[in-house]
Protein backbone atom coordinates (compact mmCIF):
# COMPACT_ATOMS: atom_id res chain seq x y z
CA UNK A 1 0.00 0.00 0.00
CA UNK A 2 2.81 2.38 0.96
CA UNK A 3 6.36 1.69 -0.21
CA UNK A 4 9.55 3.67 0.27
CA UNK A 5 12.44 2.72 -2.00
CA UNK A 6 15.80 4.15 -0.96
CA UNK A 7 14.15 7.42 -0.07
CA UNK A 8 16.35 10.31 0.96
CA UNK A 9 15.15 13.79 1.78
CA UNK A 10 17.60 16.55 2.50
CA UNK A 11 17.07 20.07 3.75
CA UNK A 12 20.34 21.92 3.38
CA UNK A 13 22.95 19.79 5.04
CA UNK A 14 20.46 17.96 7.23
CA UNK A 15 18.80 14.69 6.38
CA UNK A 16 15.11 14.53 7.13
CA UNK A 17 15.20 10.96 5.88
CA UNK A 18 18.21 8.96 4.81
CA UNK A 19 18.14 6.05 2.34
CA UNK A 20 15.01 4.44 3.79
CA UNK A 21 13.38 1.36 2.33
CA UNK A 22 10.26 -0.13 3.88
CA UNK A 23 6.68 -0.94 3.04
CA UNK A 24 3.42 -0.73 4.95
CA UNK A 25 0.51 -3.12 4.55
CA UNK A 26 -3.16 -2.58 3.97
CA UNK A 27 -5.49 -2.84 6.94
CA UNK A 28 -2.95 -2.05 9.62
CA UNK A 29 -2.52 0.79 12.06
CA UNK A 30 1.07 1.98 12.27
CA UNK A 31 2.67 4.21 14.83
CA UNK A 32 5.51 6.31 13.47
CA UNK A 33 7.40 7.01 16.65
CA UNK A 34 10.40 9.18 17.31
CA UNK A 35 11.58 12.29 19.11
CA UNK A 36 10.88 15.78 17.78
CA UNK A 37 12.80 16.50 14.62
CA UNK A 38 13.42 12.83 13.85
CA UNK A 39 11.87 13.05 10.38
CA UNK A 40 8.33 11.84 11.19
CA UNK A 41 6.57 14.82 9.73
CA UNK A 42 8.57 14.84 6.50
CA UNK A 43 8.01 11.11 6.06
CA UNK A 44 4.28 11.59 6.41
CA UNK A 45 4.26 14.54 4.00
CA UNK A 46 6.10 12.42 1.45
CA UNK A 47 3.39 9.76 1.82
CA UNK A 48 0.80 12.47 1.21
CA UNK A 49 2.61 13.68 -1.93
CA UNK A 50 3.11 17.11 -0.38
CA UNK A 51 6.88 16.86 -0.18
CA UNK A 52 9.10 15.18 -2.75
CA UNK A 53 12.12 12.97 -2.05
CA UNK A 54 15.58 14.28 -2.96
CA UNK A 55 16.24 10.77 -4.26
CA UNK A 56 14.40 7.46 -4.26
CA UNK A 57 10.73 6.65 -4.79
CA UNK A 58 7.62 6.90 -2.67
CA UNK A 59 4.87 4.63 -3.99
CA UNK A 60 1.31 5.00 -2.73
CA UNK A 61 -1.35 2.57 -3.90
CA UNK A 62 0.85 1.56 -6.85
CA UNK A 63 1.53 5.11 -8.00
CA UNK A 64 4.43 7.47 -7.43
CA UNK A 65 3.38 10.05 -4.86
CA UNK A 66 2.61 13.54 -6.10
CA UNK A 67 -0.08 16.14 -5.49
CA UNK A 68 -2.76 13.88 -7.02
CA UNK A 69 -2.04 11.38 -4.25
CA UNK A 70 -4.43 13.51 -2.21
CA UNK A 71 -7.22 11.54 -3.89
CA UNK A 72 -6.05 8.35 -2.14
CA UNK A 73 -4.78 9.83 1.08
CA UNK A 74 -6.44 11.70 3.90
CA UNK A 75 -3.80 13.76 5.65
CA UNK A 76 -4.17 15.44 9.02
CA UNK A 77 -1.57 18.17 9.41
CA UNK A 78 0.22 18.82 12.67
CA UNK A 79 -0.34 22.54 12.16
CA UNK A 80 -3.14 24.31 13.97
CA UNK A 81 -3.93 26.21 10.78
CA UNK A 82 -7.36 27.00 9.39
CA UNK A 83 -9.12 29.56 7.24
CA UNK A 84 -9.94 32.20 9.86
CA UNK A 85 -13.37 33.34 8.67
CA UNK A 86 -14.65 29.79 8.16
CA UNK A 87 -17.27 28.24 10.41
CA UNK A 88 -17.29 24.53 11.24
CA UNK A 89 -20.01 24.10 8.65
CA UNK A 90 -18.07 26.06 6.00
CA UNK A 91 -15.09 23.79 6.54
CA UNK A 92 -17.28 20.73 6.14
CA UNK A 93 -18.93 22.03 2.97
CA UNK A 94 -15.58 23.06 1.53
CA UNK A 95 -14.01 19.66 2.19
CA UNK A 96 -17.03 17.88 0.75
CA UNK A 97 -16.71 19.93 -2.44
CA UNK A 98 -13.02 19.10 -2.84
CA UNK A 99 -12.93 15.39 -2.08
CA UNK A 100 -15.12 13.06 -4.13
CA UNK A 101 -14.90 10.42 -1.38
CA UNK A 102 -16.09 12.74 1.40
CA UNK A 103 -19.00 11.16 3.27
CA UNK A 104 -21.30 13.94 4.43
CA UNK A 105 -23.48 11.68 6.56
CA UNK A 106 -20.49 10.28 8.41
CA UNK A 107 -19.10 13.80 8.81
CA UNK A 108 -22.36 14.94 10.44
CA UNK A 109 -22.26 11.90 12.72
CA UNK A 110 -18.67 12.66 13.66
CA UNK A 111 -19.54 16.29 14.42
CA UNK A 112 -22.22 15.13 16.84
CA UNK A 113 -19.86 12.58 18.34
CA UNK A 114 -17.19 15.24 18.87
CA UNK A 115 -19.85 17.71 20.08
CA UNK A 116 -18.79 20.45 17.70
CA UNK A 117 -21.00 23.48 17.14
CA UNK A 118 -21.55 23.81 13.39
CA UNK A 119 -22.13 27.54 13.47
CA UNK A 120 -19.01 28.47 15.41
CA UNK A 121 -16.18 30.23 13.63
CA UNK A 122 -12.95 28.27 13.59
CA UNK A 123 -11.05 31.07 15.27
CA UNK A 124 -13.52 30.98 18.18
CA UNK A 125 -13.03 27.25 18.72
CA UNK A 126 -10.62 26.01 21.37
CA UNK A 127 -7.45 24.37 20.18
CA UNK A 128 -8.85 21.03 21.29
CA UNK A 129 -12.00 21.47 19.24
CA UNK A 130 -10.00 22.47 16.20
CA UNK A 131 -7.98 19.28 16.70
CA UNK A 132 -11.26 17.37 16.82
CA UNK A 133 -12.49 19.09 13.66
CA UNK A 134 -9.31 18.17 11.78
CA UNK A 135 -9.96 14.55 12.69
CA UNK A 136 -13.60 14.79 11.61
CA UNK A 137 -12.49 16.04 8.19
CA UNK A 138 -9.92 13.23 7.78
CA UNK A 139 -12.17 10.44 9.04
CA UNK A 140 -15.11 11.48 6.89
CA UNK A 141 -13.20 10.48 3.77
CA UNK A 142 -13.13 6.97 2.32
CA UNK A 143 -9.46 6.71 1.48
CA UNK A 144 -7.18 3.68 1.40
CA UNK A 145 -4.60 5.63 3.38
CA UNK A 146 -5.08 7.81 6.45
CA UNK A 147 -2.12 9.82 7.74
CA UNK A 148 -2.26 11.61 11.09
CA UNK A 149 0.56 13.92 12.07
CA UNK A 150 0.67 14.48 15.84
CA UNK A 151 -3.09 14.26 16.34
CA UNK A 152 -2.71 14.56 20.13
CA UNK A 153 -0.10 17.24 20.48
CA UNK A 154 -1.05 20.03 22.85
CA UNK A 155 -4.47 18.57 23.60
CA UNK A 156 -5.84 17.73 27.03
CA UNK A 157 -6.62 14.12 28.08
CA UNK A 158 -10.36 14.49 27.44
CA UNK A 159 -9.76 15.49 23.84
CA UNK A 160 -7.17 12.77 23.42
CA UNK A 161 -9.61 10.15 24.63
CA UNK A 162 -12.30 11.37 22.28
CA UNK A 163 -9.86 11.27 19.38
CA UNK A 164 -8.86 7.68 20.16
CA UNK A 165 -12.51 6.74 20.39
CA UNK A 166 -13.23 8.52 17.11
CA UNK A 167 -10.42 6.64 15.43
CA UNK A 168 -11.61 3.27 16.73
CA UNK A 169 -15.18 3.98 15.71
CA UNK A 170 -14.56 5.22 12.20
CA UNK A 171 -11.39 3.68 10.82
CA UNK A 172 -12.11 1.01 8.26
CA UNK A 173 -9.66 -1.38 9.87
CA UNK A 174 -9.94 -4.02 7.19
CA UNK A 175 -9.16 -1.75 4.30
CA UNK A 176 -7.43 1.37 5.53
CA UNK A 177 -3.75 1.78 6.16
CA UNK A 178 -3.37 4.22 9.01
CA UNK A 179 -0.12 5.89 9.98
CA UNK A 180 -0.04 7.96 13.17
CA UNK A 181 3.09 10.03 13.74
CA UNK A 182 3.57 11.00 17.35
CA UNK A 183 6.15 11.43 20.05
CA UNK A 184 3.60 10.70 22.76
CA UNK A 185 2.75 7.03 22.75
CA UNK A 186 0.69 6.67 25.92
CA UNK A 187 -2.59 7.30 24.12
CA UNK A 188 -2.04 5.06 21.19
CA UNK A 189 -0.10 2.02 22.32
CA UNK A 190 -3.26 -0.12 22.42
CA UNK A 191 -4.33 1.20 19.05
CA UNK A 192 -1.36 0.09 17.03
CA UNK A 193 -0.59 -3.05 15.08
CA UNK A 194 2.98 -2.14 14.24
CA UNK A 195 5.45 0.50 15.34
CA UNK A 196 8.08 2.21 13.23
CA UNK A 197 10.93 3.77 15.18
CA UNK A 198 12.60 6.72 13.51
CA UNK A 199 15.51 8.82 14.72
CA UNK A 200 17.73 11.37 12.97
CA UNK A 201 16.15 10.54 9.64
CA UNK A 202 16.80 6.82 9.90
CA UNK A 203 14.20 4.07 10.28
CA UNK A 204 15.60 2.06 13.17
CA UNK A 205 13.08 -0.76 13.25
CA UNK A 206 9.57 -1.85 12.40
CA UNK A 207 8.00 -4.23 14.93
CA UNK A 208 4.67 -5.80 15.71
CA UNK A 209 3.36 -4.58 19.07
CA UNK A 210 2.01 -7.94 20.22
CA UNK A 211 5.15 -9.76 19.12
CA UNK A 212 7.24 -7.36 21.17
CA UNK A 213 5.22 -8.33 24.23
CA UNK A 214 5.19 -12.02 23.42
CA UNK A 215 8.84 -12.52 22.51
CA UNK A 216 10.61 -9.77 24.42
CA UNK A 217 8.07 -8.97 27.11
CA UNK A 218 8.31 -5.28 26.29
CA UNK A 219 5.73 -2.56 26.01
CA UNK A 220 6.37 0.01 23.27
CA UNK A 221 7.63 2.50 25.81
CA UNK A 222 10.20 0.06 27.19
CA UNK A 223 11.18 -0.99 23.70
CA UNK A 224 11.66 2.62 22.66
CA UNK A 225 13.92 3.25 25.62
CA UNK A 226 16.10 0.41 24.39
CA UNK A 227 16.12 1.24 20.74
CA UNK A 228 16.59 5.00 20.76
CA UNK A 229 20.14 6.09 21.19
CA UNK A 230 20.58 8.63 23.95
Amino acid sequence: MIAFEHVTKRYGRDFALEDSTFSLERGKIYGLLGPNGSGKSTTLKMMAGLVFPTSGNVIINGKKADRKTAADVAYLSELDFFYPSFTVNDMLKYSASQFADFDRTRAEELLDFMKLDRKKKLKQLSKGNRGRLKLVISLARNTPVLLLDEPFSGLDPMVRASIVKGLLSYIDFEKQTVVIATHEIDEIEMLLDDVIAIQDGRILAIENVEELRETKGLSILEWMKQIFEP
Partner: protein, 122 residues
Protein backbone atom coordinates in the same frame (compact mmCIF):
# COMPACT_ATOMS: atom_id res chain seq x y z
CA UNK B 1 -9.51 3.01 28.73
CA UNK B 2 -7.84 0.20 30.58
CA UNK B 3 -4.35 -0.43 31.77
CA UNK B 4 -2.48 -3.44 30.50
CA UNK B 5 0.68 -5.17 31.68
CA UNK B 6 3.73 -4.71 29.54
CA UNK B 7 4.93 -8.30 29.65
CA UNK B 8 1.89 -10.08 28.25
CA UNK B 9 0.27 -9.73 24.84
CA UNK B 10 -2.75 -7.46 24.99
CA UNK B 11 -5.01 -9.97 23.24
CA UNK B 12 -4.27 -12.56 25.94
CA UNK B 13 -4.95 -10.06 28.70
CA UNK B 14 -8.37 -9.43 27.18
CA UNK B 15 -8.93 -13.19 26.86
CA UNK B 16 -8.24 -13.51 30.61
CA UNK B 17 -10.59 -10.66 31.41
CA UNK B 18 -13.45 -12.12 29.40
CA UNK B 19 -12.87 -15.57 30.95
CA UNK B 20 -13.12 -14.08 34.41
CA UNK B 21 -16.35 -12.29 33.49
CA UNK B 22 -17.83 -15.56 32.20
CA UNK B 23 -16.81 -17.53 35.29
CA UNK B 24 -18.19 -14.80 37.59
CA UNK B 25 -21.41 -14.89 35.60
CA UNK B 26 -21.12 -11.25 34.48
CA UNK B 27 -21.47 -12.66 31.01
CA UNK B 28 -24.00 -15.49 30.88
CA UNK B 29 -23.72 -18.62 28.79
CA UNK B 30 -25.33 -18.14 25.39
CA UNK B 31 -24.96 -14.35 25.68
CA UNK B 32 -23.80 -12.35 22.69
CA UNK B 33 -20.44 -10.62 23.02
CA UNK B 34 -20.06 -7.07 21.70
CA UNK B 35 -18.98 -6.84 18.06
CA UNK B 36 -15.26 -6.53 17.42
CA UNK B 37 -15.62 -2.82 16.77
CA UNK B 38 -17.79 -2.21 19.87
CA UNK B 39 -15.35 -4.14 22.00
CA UNK B 40 -12.46 -2.19 20.50
CA UNK B 41 -14.14 1.12 21.34
CA UNK B 42 -15.06 -0.04 24.87
CA UNK B 43 -11.54 -1.11 25.68
CA UNK B 44 -9.65 1.40 23.53
CA UNK B 45 -7.81 -1.37 21.75
CA UNK B 46 -6.97 -2.01 18.11
CA UNK B 47 -9.78 -4.01 16.43
CA UNK B 48 -7.25 -6.46 15.00
CA UNK B 49 -6.21 -7.27 18.57
CA UNK B 50 -9.84 -7.87 19.58
CA UNK B 51 -10.24 -10.08 16.53
CA UNK B 52 -7.32 -12.13 17.81
CA UNK B 53 -8.88 -12.28 21.27
CA UNK B 54 -12.11 -13.65 19.81
CA UNK B 55 -10.20 -16.20 17.70
CA UNK B 56 -8.35 -17.38 20.78
CA UNK B 57 -11.61 -17.69 22.77
CA UNK B 58 -13.07 -19.64 19.90
CA UNK B 59 -10.04 -21.92 19.82
CA UNK B 60 -10.57 -22.49 23.56
CA UNK B 61 -14.21 -23.37 22.70
CA UNK B 62 -15.51 -20.76 25.12
CA UNK B 63 -17.25 -18.73 22.45
CA UNK B 64 -18.64 -19.56 19.04
CA UNK B 65 -19.09 -17.34 16.05
CA UNK B 66 -22.37 -17.68 14.21
CA UNK B 67 -22.17 -16.45 10.69
CA UNK B 68 -23.87 -13.09 10.26
CA UNK B 69 -25.00 -12.97 13.89
CA UNK B 70 -21.92 -12.39 15.95
CA UNK B 71 -19.94 -14.06 18.68
CA UNK B 72 -21.74 -15.91 21.51
CA UNK B 73 -20.61 -17.46 24.76
CA UNK B 74 -20.90 -21.24 24.52
CA UNK B 75 -24.06 -22.88 25.83
CA UNK B 76 -22.14 -26.01 26.73
CA UNK B 77 -22.10 -25.58 30.51
CA UNK B 78 -19.50 -28.28 31.05
CA UNK B 79 -17.11 -26.10 29.04
CA UNK B 80 -17.70 -23.22 31.42
CA UNK B 81 -17.27 -25.47 34.42
CA UNK B 82 -13.99 -26.66 32.95
CA UNK B 83 -12.94 -23.06 32.51
CA UNK B 84 -13.81 -22.32 36.11
CA UNK B 85 -11.71 -25.24 37.25
CA UNK B 86 -8.87 -24.18 35.04
CA UNK B 87 -8.85 -20.61 36.38
CA UNK B 88 -8.91 -21.97 39.92
CA UNK B 89 -6.01 -24.30 39.15
CA UNK B 90 -4.00 -21.46 37.61
CA UNK B 91 -4.46 -19.34 40.73
CA UNK B 92 -3.62 -22.17 43.08
CA UNK B 93 -0.58 -23.00 41.02
CA UNK B 94 0.66 -19.45 41.36
CA UNK B 95 0.00 -19.47 45.11
CA UNK B 96 1.73 -22.81 45.62
CA UNK B 97 4.75 -21.80 43.55
CA UNK B 98 5.14 -18.63 45.62
CA UNK B 99 4.87 -20.61 48.86
CA UNK B 100 7.51 -23.07 47.68
CA UNK B 101 9.76 -20.18 46.71
CA UNK B 102 9.44 -18.84 50.25
CA UNK B 103 10.29 -22.29 51.68
CA UNK B 104 6.92 -23.38 53.16
CA UNK B 105 6.14 -27.09 53.45
CA UNK B 106 2.96 -28.69 52.10
CA UNK B 107 1.45 -28.89 55.63
CA UNK B 108 2.31 -25.28 56.47
CA UNK B 109 0.72 -24.18 53.25
CA UNK B 110 -2.56 -26.01 53.93
CA UNK B 111 -2.80 -25.00 57.57
CA UNK B 112 -1.96 -21.44 56.71
CA UNK B 113 -4.66 -21.34 54.09
CA UNK B 114 -7.22 -22.97 56.42
CA UNK B 115 -6.40 -20.54 59.23
CA UNK B 116 -6.65 -17.53 56.93
CA UNK B 117 -10.02 -18.57 55.55
CA UNK B 118 -11.44 -19.13 59.06
CA UNK B 119 -10.06 -15.92 60.58
CA UNK B 120 -11.17 -13.68 57.73
CA UNK B 121 -14.57 -15.42 57.72
CA UNK B 122 -14.65 -15.81 53.98
Amino acid sequence: MEEFQASKPIYMQIVDKICQQIVRGDIKSGEKLPSVREMAIQSGVNPNTIQRTYSELERMEIVETRRGQGTFVTEANDRIVELKVKLQRDLIKGFVNNMIDLGFSKEEMLSGLKKYVEEEEI
